[in-house]
Amino acid sequence: MQFWIIQGLNSLSLGGLLFLLSSGFSLIFGLMRLANLTHGAFFMLGTYFGATALRSWDGLNIWAAALGAGIAVAAIGGLFERLVLTRLKTNPLGQVLVTLGMSFIISDACLMLWGGDPIPVPTPQNLQSPTRVFGFVFPTYRLVLVGCAIGAGIVLYFLLERTRLGAMIRAGVDDRQMARAVGIPVSNLFTVVFCLGAGIAGAGGVLGGPILSAYPGLDADMLPLALIVVILGGIGSLLGAFIGSFIIGFIYTFGTALFPELAYVILFLPMIFVIAFRPQGLFGRVGA
């Protein structure tokens, strides 16, 4: 019983992390029709930034570190979008290749700057003590992480559904040309959304640090998970990313615990299932 509950919680926290990663990916894809293969690298960059900040300044709050790393990664993402991606507006394949090239550059730069050894990220001190719920002992940090993901999901939902910016983004997703015609600055929206997506990934990287730690190859580990989540949930759908993240979180955690060698195979079973019966994903719209 203890095993199932602890693994269940681990699944939830991994799902939360995956949501922080894949929501940005899904958002960028929805608006820009761009499969941003740099996303795993943004996540890893966030983890390294967070690890460095938390280890060099004692007593730095992890939330402040996540915010700072998120802003830094968002700035890098914004520069990349402005300087490179906008030049390739009419060339979607070129855009994907450029994001792939950028992910190689970032991951190699991380290897150069931080070396090949994993850098552990300390768990915040006030969250180190376990929490007791109904006689079960939970690691507090993982609970908080799930809360963070849900919080981020709610904020993103309100941002997209209840604000003017969100309305413009939705208009751009539905019909880019018409949105331009009625005076929505779609090109600027692209930059905003790209920064937002990159920033969430970067902040997610910091928050995931205490669980995953920063190591070379983190990007290559996370990117396929993000891809599987969005293929499963439906590309461009926030709800799809949310549900997909937790499904994959559960499958991956239990897969690793029960059949460690086959975890990767089990991971893509739901993907195949969804692609076979609902190619647009669980919550994706046809044509999106």
Binding site: V96, V98, L100, A109, L227, E261, Y264, I275
Partner: protein, 311 residues
């Protein structure tokens, strides 16, 4: 003019074993292997309009199957080559059914995810694949009793396979099936309206490309006598894709030129700097931003322009 070009081309492939030292002959063999791999990817990317980021799967899986069968189960090279090519082609058939549910970016993402799964498996199933240590101590086959252990003999072997591959893929794209493939790439709806089955055309091409990817994988493992999970990594797929796009996708000569360039760059760069991945990324940015149509189409446009100017 055309004949001189053809003679020069033939000479550049036939002369290396007589003129150059072992290092350059080996480099030439590697170029041939990379060229077969890039040509097979080009069937998808250039002629089929299906950009795959998981092509290393076929190279890696064929290499792993052959390595496991010869080293662990003691099978002969002939049998293991047949099993590994058949297995790889069958895997391409399954992957094709999955990946071709989508087109465009969805297709790209699914191929990438599938290949990452295989890469993860190669690392983690260490009791089968020996994990990060890879499988070492493999041998080269001896077709008709001829040893391929010297650099020159392996080069001839690779050249024969590469020529065969080039001719067969050239026939494939210039056949009527190849025309319908290009039609499906450009106008899938019209092709469907004309009574073609776009899905089936794409799927057959996918399987055929997987077959030649497997062949290049066999050569790869024969050449290296060693196999490691990096042969399945995205970097491998990306290098081949870069070769295709840098050389010129949708042309027959382009991928060969591109693959050669990527390989030369990799060899020479790694002698001076350690950061091959970063360089690869920079070259990606450069090619896409500066030469989006590739070198071979660019050069041939330049040549026709010159010819017109000289007349």
């Amino acid at each position: 003019m055309k004949w001189i070009g053809a003679a020069l081309l033939a000479a550049s492939f036939l002369l290396p074993p007589f003129l150059a030292g072992d290092f350059y002959i080996n480099l030439a063999s590697q170029i041939l292997i990379a060229a077969i791999f890039a040509l097979s990817l080009n069937l998808l990317v250039g002629f089929g309009g299906m950009t795959s980021l998981g092509h290393a799967s076929y190279l890696g899986v064929a290499a792993y199957i052959s390595a496991l069968l010869t080293s662990r189960y003691g099978l002969g090279h002939g049998t293991s080559a047949i099993v590994s090519i058949t297995g790889t082609t069958a895997m391409a058939a399954c992957f094709g059914v999955i990946a071709l549910r989508a087109t465009g970016l969805g297709f790209l993402m699914i191929t990438l995810a599938l290949s990452q799964v295989l890469w993860g498996l190669a690392y983690r199933m260490s009791n089968v694949t020996n994990g990060d240590n890879g499988i070492a101590g493999l041998t080269r086959p001896m077709p008709f009793g001829i040893s391929l252990d010297s650099a020159a003999s392996f080069y001839w072997f690779a050249l024969v396979v590469a020529t065969l591959a080039f001719l067969m893929m050239a026939t494939f794209v210039s056949s009527s099936f190849g025309s319908s493939l290009k039609g499906v790439r450009d106008q899938p709806r019209r092709m469907a309206a004309l009574g073609f089955n776009p899905w089936m055309i794409r799927w057959i091409t996918f399987v055929y490309a997987g077959f030649w990817g497997g062949v290049s994988g066999l050569l790869y493992v024969y050449y290296n006598k060693y196999i490691h999970p990096t042969s399945l990594s995205t970097t491998g797929s990306a290098e081949a894709l870069l070769g295709v796009i840098a050389g010129g996708s949708g042309t027959l000569g382009g991928p060969v030129v591109g693959a050669a360039l990527v390989l030369l760059l990799k060899n020479y760069a790694s002698a001076y700097i350690e950061r091959w991945n970063m360089l690869l990324g920079v070259v990606f940015l450069f090619i896409v931003l500066v030469m989006p149509t590739g070198i071979v189409p660019g050069l041939s446009r330049l040549l026709t322009g010159l010819r017109r100017g000289s007349r």
